[in-house]
């Protein structure tokens, strides 16, 4: 691995200094600083909510910065739109590229600048040849004539990269490009990235997978809570150092589950079945207990939770709350039986992001806030305010839309909405996904407190440290079945991963907490 090449005198390809960006009252980015040399691959790491994505959007021209300096190849720039940034030689490759599925690969690459032949007809041959030449250069084999529909995410990313090269982009930003790729595809992407670096282009690589960062990158910049923390040559640093800078605290403080007395059975799931999704799922959850559903992404954990709550139907089996059968397929029935469900996808399922905070918090309980059948905003505010306060939601006023809030703050709104129903059972799917570290530990403390007060909690989490730290019992789901039930003492990272992968021989790498969950692959 070579150190960052720095041809003397050549200016930095990208230079961001103290860039700030706020949405309403929320500062998504306080002081973002990033310097990328030509001919280098620069890693940008940080917890979710650290401001990486906002920084990328400023570079891409999606957002306009409120303050700070932004220079490209030494020149001050100010992008009003994504097309301006493209014209200036910036290409951003997202985790899930957006191609036109019904157009050919070549048409996607040359979108908006198709080579023209006589009489301004599109010269398809030149387009196909040009695409083929690009793919040769990248060392990949994709037929330029085939439609984009049906291409793997990896191939779609390659097409975006080909497009960027054909535009002669000097700076490529890759935002978690490997999240959905298999091992072979990652290797191919890295080969392409290295060849681009060797051509003298600058690359910014965002990833949560440290082994990739260390395998690919020359330098690494750490961000935390919207602020720049550090930049180092990759050879001068270690995973542990970076993790410590990212979280800014001892990792062990993150999961403070305190033991609570365990009471009666609250939830009793018996033989739950949905053909092709999950099979013969039975478990009980007692008051005061946190039961984690662990397993790989796609193992069927969320689907089980959704069926228990009533968002999805099931074919066979039964769900009982405090001994009483719950009518299947109706969220209202689950709610009335004392269930609360904080879903996985906060923005699509958890809350109405364009709705006000008060209406979101009061969304489930508003049925009992009315007087003589009439519901007023005042009644909603009166009910929502104290719950928002208890969860320390950060906002100016209760009529602010949830759109502008950070992920952690939005999660607090979702939690406030469900805790307001005073449930007996809380099902929480990925409780801390996409929220900042501070809020993360607040959520963990809250869950622990709630269990201490006798709430039964079912927690689904892809973060192994969270599972091991929080759960009294771990149920491991593998391909729609519960393959292991582990007590707190038995639940080690190795035991959970072994059951989750359905294998007995593999001992997965669980070196440090922050990268443990990268073992999970999309099924």
């Amino acid at each position: 691995m070579s150190g960052p090449s720095d041809p003397s005198g050549s200016p930095l390809t990208l230079e961001l200094r103290d860039v700030a960006k706020s949405f309403g009252a929320v500062a998504a980015l306080r002081s973002g600083t990033l310097e990328v040399r030509p001919g280098s691959i620069h890693a940008l790491v940080g917890e979710n909510g650290a401001g990486k994505s906002t920084l990328v959007k400023v570079i891409a021209g999606v957002h306009q910065r409120d303050a700070g300096e932004f220079r490209l190849k030494g020149e001050e720039v100010d992008f009003g739109s994504t097309s301006e940034s493209k014209a200036a030689g910036v290409a951003v490759i997202y985790q899930e590229p957006t191609l036109f599925p019904d157009l050919s690969v070549a048409e996607n690459i040359f979108m908006g600048r198709q080579p023209l032949g006589p009489a301004r007809r599109i010269d398809r041959k030149r387009m196909y040849d040009g695409s083929a030449a690009l793919f040769d250069r990248l060392g990949v084999h994709i037929d330029p004539r085939r439609p984009a529909r049906g291409l793997s995410i990896a191939d779609q990313q390659i097409i975006e990269i080909a497009k960027a090269i054909s535009l002669d982009a000097a700076l490529l930003v890759m935002d978690e490009p490997t999240a959905a790729l298999s091992g072979v595809e990652v290797d191919r992407l890295f080969a392409v990235a290295r060849s681009l670096r060797d051509e003298g282009r600058a690359l910014v690589f965002i990833s949560h997978r440290f082994e990739e960062v260390f395998a690919l990158c020359d330098e690494v910049t750490v961000m935390r809570d919207g602020e720049y923390v550090s930049t180092d040559p990759i050879v001068d640093t270690t995973v542990d150092e970076i993790v410590a800078r990212m979280v800014g605290r001892e990792v062990t403080d993150l999961f403070p589950k305190t033991p609570a007395p365990v009471g009666d059975v609250v939830l009793d799931v018996e033989g739950l079945n949905r053909t092709g999704v999950f099979h013969d799922v039975s478990f009980q959850v007692r008051a005061g207990e946190i039961v984690a559903l662990a397993g790989l992404v796609g193992a069927g954990r969320s689907e089980i939770a959704r069926a228990v709550f009533g968002v999805d139907a099931y074919d066979a089996g039964s769900v009982r709350m405090l001994g009483r059968a719950v009518r299947p397929g109706r969220p209202r029935a689950g709610i009335e039986a004392g269930m609360a469900f904080v879903p996985e996808d906060r923005r699509q399922q958890g809350l109405v992001v364009d709705g006000t905070i008060a209406r979101n918090v009061a969304a489930v309980i508003r049925g009992r806030l009315d007087r003589l059948g009439f519901l007023t905003t005042r009644a909603e505010n009166r009910a929502a305010g104290p719950w928002a306060a208890r969860l320390e939601v950060k906002t100016n006023a209760l009529d602010m839309p949830a759109t502008t809030m950070s992920g952690g703050n939005q999660q607090k709104v979702v939690l406030a909405k469900w805790l307001a129903t005073e449930p007996k059972l809380l099902i929480i799917d990925e409780p801390t996904r996409g929220i900042d570290v501070g809020t993360k530990s607040e959520v963990h403390r809250l869950l622990s407190d709630l269990a201490g007060q006798g709430l039964a909690i079912v927690m689904i989490s892809s973060e192994l440290p969270e599972v091991l730290g929080m759960a009294d019992r771990v149920l491991v789901v593998h391909e729609g079945r519960i393959t292991a039930e582990l007590d707190r003492e038995e639940a080690t990272a190795e035991a959970v991963m072994r059951a989750a992968t359905g294998s007995s021989g593999i001992t997965p790498m669980v070196g440090n907490p922050a990268s443990a969950s990268t073992e999970e692959v999309k099924a």
């Binding site: 979710n48 990486k52 985790q95 699509q348 399922q349 008060a358 905003t377 006023a397 006798g454 999309k522």
Partner: protein, 362 residues
Amino acid sequence: MSTSTLPTTPESQRSYRPYARPLVARLLVNREAAIIGLLVAVFAWSTVNIEAFDGPLTLYYLFLDMAPILMIALPMTLVIITGEIDLSVASIVGLSSVLVGIFHVDMGLSIPVAGLLAIAVGTLAGLLNGFLVAYVGLPSLAVTIGTLALYRGIAVGLLGDTAITDFPQKWTDLVKERIVEESSYPMVLIPIAVLIVVFALTLHFTSFGRGVYEIGLNDQAARFSGVNVERTKLFLFALTGAVSALAGIYYTLRYGSARGDNATGLELQVIAAVLLGGVSIFGGRGALHGVIAGVLLIGVISSAMRLEGETVNKINIVIGVLLVLSVISTSFLAWASGLRSARRWPWATRPRPDGTGKRSQS
């Protein structure tokens, strides 16, 4: 087990202001206020500048003409706020008109009985729309274009190009009668006022109404919070059918004529008025007072221009331009205030998944 599950952080009792903006700003800086302001301005200008606009007949005919649009605009507002649309309303008006004629004249039923039966059929027509949209999951635009043709076809098929005109004078006079002698307010305003109160309370002051907005903003989140999305939509389409049938009875009695082609094209006038009143075609936004102002604004402009001797075509041009301007103004205002929202332009590029959105894993 029934212990309370409140988190124990009583010391952190912060309190929030209920509103970010002061009362005056909230009341005056919004689309509804703009439309009401425009209505008042056009009305005042017309009163001063147009001869006979302040005469006793202007408002009277304005109300008579706008009555069916005003009625149907009420349930249509709720349907559009859920993010759906109903294009079959004018065909239900026509069907209901024909049925009233057949039930009363051919079958000898009294007007109230014939009317109730017509409303029942209108409700069924709306239920069919709602069933196909909510439970079969078809797009409402396609479904109601289909039923627009279907219901109109049945209406015309039942009567051909004949008209039934033998309605008792008592009833045809009643709808046109004034509430108070010499006033400008026809009787039909009484049922309309009742409907306005009922719809305004339902939309703005009930849990059901909150659900209507939530469905329009994010139906998945609404479902996860226990809103019965399918049943709500079914109910709204059925309600639209019922009110459209009621408008059909009024239409028949006012013109004393039951015809299959009555009220052809009315659906577009209704939708135009609803959108002019500040309701978002993408769902989730709008208020009933804006819609009422939108209907009346169209009425005032039409009668003012008619009194000036302008043709219907010119009136349509003015209303069309106004509607386009009102749609542009929303986008312009949103753009000007720097609000980026995918909702405004659902067909535009979706915002990229950011750190707080979906990620497959970390």
